[in-house]
């Protein structure tokens, strides 16, 4: 888009643009710069002194929880994203095979419900279903197959997968809707040509659908990766341990200690503002790198 003049014509347009600039500077860019500025200070209740890169040194070489949080976050991405892509694609392809549009609309709406309902409430419901012993729904279901009981949220092995399963359940419908839009954009001629050449449904899926859906898939991967990297709510609602001061979360034994929660706990709950800001600054850089990927895929999709 090439615009000739610097300022738009008309007072209203100018006021709107300047107001928007003021808003974004004040509410996003100024605070972000402050995150970096604070990261050079040792700032906590009763202490405020310049320490240069000391906070970063602490994080990278001393604080084991930082690395643990980072690895938990990436594990979480690894557990959720493939599931969301596979189920989203499966559902989209299955719905695309339905000829009856009313039935298709019904199932589309049904599969989309989890995405739209408030996560805080859903996390509470799932915590109830994840109850240990034979109290929880999941263990009852496993019990009918002579499996379990699993200690789900109370076990270091299962806590993170438990949150991941919830997220896959919640987000798959969203991926499905994106994949359905992608499927619609594949020209029917390709399928017709392939059918005439004798390709069966299986071949058509692997040779036509999947390759032509690559832009959509890439977009879904990036957007669900970002969403999973920022997970906070389920950890906050589902993992508070009895007896820990202030309801400490992210357990058991840091098994669900994701980055967003780590930053929140350090900077807000414990008021280690300098250290928390250094942490946030590192996370910011990681997310911007992923964000650039998102932008490239957006460009493909929307032709900005």
């Amino acid at each position: 888009m090439q615009a000739a003049t610097w300022l738009p014509r008309g007072g209203l347009a100018r006021v709107v643009l300047f107001a928007a600039i003021a808003f974004f500077l004040l509410m996003i860019w100024w605070p972000i710069s402050q995150t970096f500025w604070l990261s050079f200070w040792d700032q906590r209740p009763g202490v405020q002194r310049w320490v240069g890169l000391e906070n970063y040194r602490t994080l990278l070489f001393v604080d084991t929880v930082f690395w643990k949080s980072l690895s938990v976050t990436f594990w979480y991405v690894g557990l959720t994203v493939p599931g969301v892509v596979v189920f989203g694609l499966l559902l989209a392809v299955a719905l695309d095979g339905l000829k009856n549009l009313t039935v298709r609309g019904f199932f589309t709406s049904l599969y989309f419900v989890p995405y739209i309902v408030p996560l805080v409430a859903v996390a509470l419901v799932w915590r109830y279903m994840y109850l240990p012993g034979n109290q929880g729904l999941f263990n009852v279901i496993l019990g009918t197959f002579d499996l379990g009981p699993v200690r789900w949220l109370n076990s270091t092995d299962w806590a993170l997968p438990s949150l991941a399963i919830l997220r896959i359940w919640k987000i798959s419908g969203y991926a499905m809707v994106l994949f359905m839009a992608g499927l619609q954009s594949i020209p029917a001629v390709y399928y017709e040509a392939a059918s005439i050449d004798g390709a069966n449904a299986w071949h058509r899926f692997w040779r036509i659908t999947l390759p032509l859906l690559m832009p959509t898939t890439a977009f879904v991967v990036v957007i669900t990766t970002i969403g999973a990297m920022l997970e906070f709510t389920t950890v906050y609602v589902m993992t508070n341990q009895p007896g820990a001061a202030g309801g400490d979360r992210g357990g058991p034994n840091f098994a669900t200690h994701v980055m967003s929660y780590h930053i929140f706990k350090t900077a807000i709950t414990n008021q280690y503002e300098g250290l928390g800001s250094a942490n946030a600054a590192i996370f910011f850089v990681i997310m911007v790198v992923i964000g650039f990927l998102q932008y490239r895929f957006l460009k493909v999709r929307h032709d900005y």
Binding site: L12, V16, A20, P118, V120, Q135, I268, S277
Partner: protein, 302 residues
């Protein structure tokens, strides 16, 4: 605009003429398998809702049963009463004020900005669009603390309360990149000729916007409003920082506080969860097509 529920694939039509009996039987088998998969997933997606609803109406004795009963043998709305007469009525008011105000403000600013960016294109507008685009990459949690400090400074400087007020909760969301994207896209459907005609007739920019543009993009505004409301209603992180007294808590914090240290009072939790889900579910059931199409066309919210 992507049409989610548009044409059926051509393959299905093509297979029909001159099909052998065997092929027809295989097709029927495929059809049954397809419906089986769809129904299975339907159950998986819907069951948690059944489970919480049924748990919420069980009486205090039955809800403690091990293993739990598959359907309620008792019926009691006791838990709902106790949840509602607790602090939850207030939490709901807070949530609706918070999410509702953000929705109204954000839809307004998004539409206005979308209009200015497209119909009054300028280099400054491009700069603003780049600012907005790059803002989508910045996770909220990375500037949460400085934003909070900024609000405290504003409060001290201006002498008006900001922390622990609706105003403070609403402020960071008055313009959203997501909304601007959506409405900017919608502006392409507004014909320039209409705006030119209005200008020739001597209409001011504001009149053109409110009388011509807004009616034409009303549907997009409605879709945006729904999405913004639903996402703000579900917000936990920001209220945790700004809303500091229970009288200001939205339902999200209300639910968390409700659990407290021990996860034991299942009847109350499930009733509270049902109440929290209900408004959003109702909105969705009434206006689902808007929502799904809004997501499919823009797909920007992770």
């Amino acid at each position: 605009m992507a049409q989610v529920q548009a044409t059926a694939p051509a393959t299905a039509r093509l297979a029909h003429p001159a099909m052998s009996g065997l092929a027809r039987a295989r097709r029927r088998g495929g059809r049954i398998a397809l419906y089986a998969v769809l129904l299975l997933f339907g159950v998986i997606f819907a069951f948690p809702f059944y489970w919480v609803l049924s748990a919420s109406v069980k009486d205090v004795v039955e809800i403690r049963a091990v293993p739990p009963t598959w359907w309620p043998h008792s019926f009691s709305l006791d838990a709902y009463g106790r949840v509602w007469t607790g602090k939850f009525a207030r939490y709901f008011v807070n949530s609706f004020v918070y999410a509702g105000s953000v929705t109204v403000i954000d839809v307004f600013t998004s539409t206005l900005l979308g209009y200015v960016l497209i119909k009054h294109a300028s280099r400054l507008g491009n700069v603003v669009f780049w600012m907005i685009l790059s803002a989508t990459m910045v996770p909220f949690v990375t500037y949460l603390l400085p934003l909070f400090i900024l609000l405290i400074q504003m409060q001290n400087l201006l002498g008006i309360p900001v922390i622990n007020t609706y105003w403070g909760m609403i402020m960071p969301w008055m313009i959203s990149p997501f909304g601007v994207f959506l409405m900017r896209q919608a502006m392409y459907s507004v014909p320039n000729e209409l705006l030119d005609a209005a200008r020739i007739d001597g209409a001011s920019d504001w009149t053109a916007f409110s009388r011509i543009v807004v009616p034409l993009v009303k549907q997009n505004m409605a879709a945006l409003a729904l999405l913004i409301f639903i996402f703000r209603y579900d917000d936990l992180l920001w209220p945790l920082v700004v809303a500091q007294s229970p009288t200001m808590y939205p339902v999200t914090i209300g639910l968390v506080e409700f659990i407290g240290e021990f996860f034991v009072e299942y009847d109350l939790y499930t009733a509270a969860a049902v109440l929290t889900i209900l408004p959003v579910l109702a909105l969705y059931l009434i206006l689902q097509r808007f929502i799904i199409e809004g997501i499919a066309t823009q797909g920007l919210k992770g």
